[in-house]
């Protein structure tokens, strides 16, 4: 079966094989730049709002190294207690300290315009990703149909015959002889690595990302921070701070004893 070899016109190679690959590479690069251009810059927050968002991060940074901390206990405790007081009094909240009688509520994500922008942006990029692929598939099906393009070096099962030999009605031909649409699929999967090389890791041309991402993923990214009620978060953070304070352990503690031991001036443990 393998000894039978079809003779293919070299012009097919020049006018179909290379052009399809070239077009797909160029369209991928185009998609990447279109996605970049379509992304609207993130909305600038006011100073108070930014301070509110960053306040949590401050205590998280402090807590992250508490059990192996580079700062001595006096400093750590003073920062920790200052933050704790500030959270309780609500000095970092965007609208100032909460009034005793006003109920606190989180903004509704559907009505909050900033979150809607995030969702729209995600869906726009999805559309940009899909459209070129459909167009190229249509172009290939229209112009490059009905002939054998290339022979695959590896065998496939008969089930693939209908997909890879579309337009060629030969029931007995080896599945390894395939039409141009299968070359499109090979390129579709195989060019991701090339895009990663030329466009950098996080590029907009990556087709493997299209299948895993969805507008819901983009929504998930846009939401955090907006509907959260910072007052409640601050209260929770106070408990965390207290816990971490209990765990605090300075790396420089007993440093004099450790150094003496290291150089043998003091009896080892």
């Amino acid at each position: 079966m393998d000894r039978l070899s079809l003779y293919l016109d070299p012009q097919i190679r020049d006018w179909v094989l290379f052009p399809i690959t070239l077009v797909m590479i160029l369209v991928g690069i185009l998609r990447h730049y279109v996605v970049i251009l379509l992304q609207s810059p993130p909305k600038k927050l006011s100073r108070a709002a930014t301070r509110e968002q960053r306040a949590l991060t401050r205590s998280q940074i402090l807590r992250a190294t508490s059990s192996n901390s580079p700062i001595p206990p006096a400093f750590y405790k003073s920062i920790s207690q200052h933050l704790s007081e500030a959270y309780k009094a609500g000095t970092y909240l965007k609208d100032g300290p909460p009034k005793a009688d006003a109920p606190s509520s989180a903004p509704n994500p559907l009505s909050d315009p900033a979150a809607m922008d995030g969702m729209m942006a995600g869906m726009k990029t999805q559309m940009v990703m899909m459209v070129p692929q459909m167009v190229i598939m249509g172009w290939i099906n229209f112009f490059f149909q009905g002939f054998v393009l290339i022979k695959l070096p590896f065998p496939l099962t008969l089930g693939f015959k209908s997909m890879l030999q579309r337009g060629i009605d030969t029931p007995d031909m080896d599945v390894r002889w395939v039409s141009s649409l299968s070359w499109y699929f090979l390129n579709f999967f195989g060019l991701n690595g090339l895009y990663r090389l030329i466009l950098g890791g996080d590029n907009g041309a990556d087709s493997s990302r299209d299948m895993t991402a969805s507008p819901f993923a983009a929504m998930g990214n846009a939401q955090p921070g907006q509907p959260q009620d910072f007052n409640k978060l601050f209260k929770a953070e106070r408990d965390n701070l207290e816990f971490a304070e209990g765990l605090h352990n300075w790396v420089g503690e007993n440093m004099d004893i450790k150094i003496l031991r290291k150089y043998g001036k003091l009896a080892a443990l």
């Binding site: 293919l8 070299p10 998280q60 290339i150 070096p153 590896f154 090979l186 690595g193």
Partner: protein
Amino acid sequence: MATTTDNAAQLIFAPNVLHNQALTSVKFLSFCFAGAVAGILGLENWLGFALFIASIVSTSFIIYAINCRGKPAKYLPGGLGELVNPGQDNIFTFILVWTLFYGIIHVYD
């Protein structure tokens, strides 16, 4: 956010970790060349995939011996597994380049 810390994670310097991701482009290029070799030699079926496996082994070995100096865990977060893993994209890249060269050289005159 967890209140316990990962002491080993504290010692990692992020920009260096990012730089070591250059490993992925090294792997990509080596699989491109391996695909070209497989195509030019006219390897078929399992011989081609055997070359793929051989190229994974030799690339990983060279990086292991020369770059990581026998300690991949020190340079890569995933350790030995991440060093050897070809990555999902690279398998398809290998097949694409293999098919391309096989077609150019052996199918067309």
